[in-house]
């Protein structure tokens, strides 16, 4: 792994984000590499294409989820699976990078190509989580539902975190999301789902 200089990925990501903020379509991989002080070939060792640069590292969140699932004792109630997996996933949300993630999300939201890549990344995360839960014997609609709840909880926590103020503890946001999700799933049969 000697060819991976330390910090190169972060420099490429910072450079890409700055350039994309001034126009995604007109930015080239060569420009990103130049701004990051490296070469185009180094860019392509880190990323398969221009879109990928903002998603480097996203597979780590799935790895954490899969490891958390494997570590839980057999017979863990479904909701406790969701709770534990969410807490493992959010470990990756680095407070020092919160502002960067917020800027990144604004760029992704504005661009169809990036939104598509984001969707595919979340899908492959769901597939990894599905495989790990199936390994434990979950199947059918229970499996689908637990995967959906994990996706929903992690997405809600991430969204609230990037929009929160500096210093907001992501673990407290996760507590809120889990408490709301418990209430919401309990209230599915109650009236007044709308106003």
């Amino acid at each position: 792994m000697a060819r991976w200089e330390p910090g190169t990925r972060e420099r490429l990501q910072d450079a890409a984000l700055e350039l994309f903020e001034h126009g995604y379509d007109t930015t080239t991989a060569a420009q990103i590499a130049e701004r990051a002080g490296t070469s185009k070939s180094t860019f392509f060792r880190h990323c398969t294409d221009k879109r990928e640069v903002l998603f480097a590292g996203t597979s780590e969140i799935a790895d954490r989820a899969v490891a958390a699932i494997a570590a839980l004792p057999p017979g863990t109630p479904a909701f406790d699976l969701v709770d534990n997996v969410l807490r493992a996933m959010i470990q990756i949300f680095d407070p020092a990078k919160r502002a960067w993630y917020r800027r990144r999300q604004a760029v992704v939201d504005k661009n169809r190509e990036l939104r598509e890549r984001d969707l595919l990344k979340r899908q492959s995360q769901n597939e990894a989580i599905t495989a790990a839960l199936r390994e434990r014997g979950l199947d059918g609609l229970t499996l689908d539902l637990v995967v959906a709840l994990i996706g929903l909880a992690s997405h809600a926590t991430y969204t609230r975190w990037i929009e929160a103020s500096d210093g907001q503890d992501v673990a407290l946001l996760a507590n809120d999301v889990l408490a709301e999700l418990r209430t919401t799933t309990t209230d599915l049969r109650a009236g007044a789902a709308d106003t």
Copy 2:
């Protein structure tokens, strides 16, 4: 709409499926048009690209979901929303096309490009359903959860239907899915989520 000959879409879809079954990558839009007895320009009036041909008509399922949501009285419990929307969506599953849908799904499952397009179609369906539910005043995690449950229930019903034997009533399959989903959401706190 005089330029839309009746049955053209179905002929293009049948021709595309037959050709894709022998190789997706090597099939061209011109070949599909020729096999369907029409022109390449007609093909592109119906479909933006080669992938799209298998997904023509998928927006109708979202239209039905949106219409069903608008028709329900205020204060309908969340689970009853899911129930009613699912029953509206499955109206589109034509028993005469069941075998065609099963063949189509086998082709989609085998090809990454088609799986991606399928995912994007399901995402835009979710977006239409999200907008319609937000219109009723649903928001936050309740909104996300109801959208996820509708997606999960419709996908499970569709998957069971295409794998069922001929003559299997899709409405009975939907009943089973809804009953299982009610049990599953109730059991989220119970132990033995796995074996």
